[in-house]
Amino acid sequence: MISERGRVPVEEGKMTKTGKPGINRRTTLALMGAGAFTVASPWVARAQAKTIKIGMPTILSGRVAQLGTSSRNAVMLEVEKVNAAGGLAGRQIEMVVRDSKGQPQEAARIARELVNTDGCEIILDGEASSGSFAVHEVARDIGVLCIHTCSEASSLTADPKQHIPNAFRCVRQGIHDSIAGGSYAANIAKAKGLKKWATCSPDYAYGRDTTAEFVTYLKHFAPDVEIISENWPKLFQPDYTETVTKILQAKPQALYSALWGGDLTSYIDQANIYAMFTQMEVFAVNMADYTALTVVKNLPKGIHSGNRYIKTYPATAENAAWGDAYKAKYKEYPTNWSWQNATAVMFLSEAAKKANSTDGKKLAEVLTGLTIKCPFGADGTVTMRGEDRTLVGYAIGWGTTIPNEPYVPEVKSGDWKQIFALEAEWKKSKGYT
């Protein structure tokens, strides 16, 4: 039996043998502990300082490559600020951005690879349309914290089937734009007596849904309006002559279009030849984005447009500074996708501060219902609405174009109370609530 002090007890009267003064159990344990600490301390230090990887599947090639590049630019701009300020709960952010080529199966594969192989702990989903739904399913499957930053499809968060506690959407929505646009257009229609309307939107879900919703709310606010011509050119169609002439023949008083990007600029350039913009009021929801404003050869005066991104709306110093900083760094203007992605990083940064953690579950809990200061907010703040984990309170408005900067000098703000009320009705009508 070994005594507590590590000495062997000897019987009385016998030669006393003192145990060799050596290392007893406590000392052994203490030394082992110290040794373990010495060996482990670099690892502990490294773990604490370990960077946090954020993965981003997006579209960096093909016709909508600008979606991915301008999203990535904005993310990097914000990540640099967060890292300079100490990182995400003390961990420096490392972005891993991959090109999905706009293919949903690639988006899903890349999202899985980013988490499973590259060790990304958060996904910023810079996918559009079907790609975002594919990434959403990956988030559902593997439980990673995911923030959608480009998909405007309302059903992504409005449909309760899509609700998962770890997925958020930091993007404007078609339904919000349609309500704000319908209200704005109805006021103009009433003031100018615009009763005969035509529509011209791309022939896919976004174009058809947004147009239907705009018409619904236009008629809601101005019941006299009548749609006399509907036109659905194909997405990425190069020649709009047939559509333009058909609309001119119908002689509407106003035209609504949900065309975007290159399609919108091609359409305007071609319609300019027929002097379309002098013959009717044109409402193009996606006009007020630098991607369109700066590309059109002769931007007509007086096109009504929803704001996508312009640095003069909201007319705050913070927004102007952000737009200028982006332009100074990347030698081009930011896009609508840019502000959405930047906002997602702002949300993450604020959530990590509040949670004092980068754990996905804790971040998700804090993100739900979180309001942050933001240059792109209607009142200087934006909110990640708790009930459907989607962005609300962002600057939304309509104005008319001029050919040069600031392109849309006066923007009339949409009313978020009205948007919330009509959005709730819309959700009911769709069976979502």
Partner: protein, 340 residues
Amino acid sequence: MSELNVENRAGAVPYVARPRRAAAIDVVAAVVAFAILAALPFLFDSKALLDFVIRCAAFGLFATSLNLLVGYTGLISFGHGMFFGLGAYGFGLLMQRANVSIPVAMVCTLAITAVAAVVIGAICVRLKEIYFAFVTLAFQMLIHSVILSWQSLTGGDQGLRGGIKRPVFWGIDLTNHVQLYIFSCALLVIGLLLMRQIAQSPFGYTLRMIRDNATRASFIGINVWRAKLTVFVLAALFASAGGMIMSLFVSGAYPEFAYWTISGEGIFINMLGGVTTFLGPMVGTVILLILNDTATRLTEHYGLVLGIVILFFALGLRKGLMDFAVDWYRAWRDKAKEQS
């Protein structure tokens, strides 16, 4: 039909009634391949590897089935992707709406694909060469347009939303990643084994004869139209199985699965791997997916890399990798014989 003196483009031997031993060897090879694949999750702790093999299973079945048309029958289909898409959508919709078990949904999807393939094939296989290619492409675009337009059923360009349920069947839980992997491997191996038996059967040699000389085949009493239609439908079924694996992998179905680019990838896979050997498309699938995954990691100019590789194979090599492998093996064997 014990023997057909078919002049094979690839220099293969004429058909001789296949001994049962050859079929048994195929079965043994399939069991060994499945055993190796099934062991991978226990040897390597890599979810990415499992994802890679699942995708290989989906595209491998699709590309090999396309080779039944291209390589064995000489029918260059530019629209084979429609059956891949049909499989993904059919299976996804049945799982979402019909509340049936996975095996039932799979069988029903195969039945739907078969009906569609009979209708489309009956029109297409009457045509030759470029006309066949373009009409298959036209049907593919028709199906793609229907998927986009029929929003209430298919979700339009946003695809099938809400995920695909994977209820447990026969003790198999496909929500478990490893079980989904093994299930996909099983489908791949069974699919390849069945296609191998078709390719090596008298019917398979009939297809080769039609490819090499359809007129001659009809003169000896073969109903060329029926044979072409049969292989068109069979190929569609295997492509559909590939689509089902893909829909399970991404837990959804998207219009891109039925777009012409999927057919283009199938053709490219066949070019990469070679069409004169049975496993050529499978090898091509592995190469393309490695190329895709590596290029996507390293560069944003994926299209440029892929374009250069296509040019290299089309203008430089003019053969698939397996074709070269077979040529090298034959040369080595002949040399060894001469030396002995």
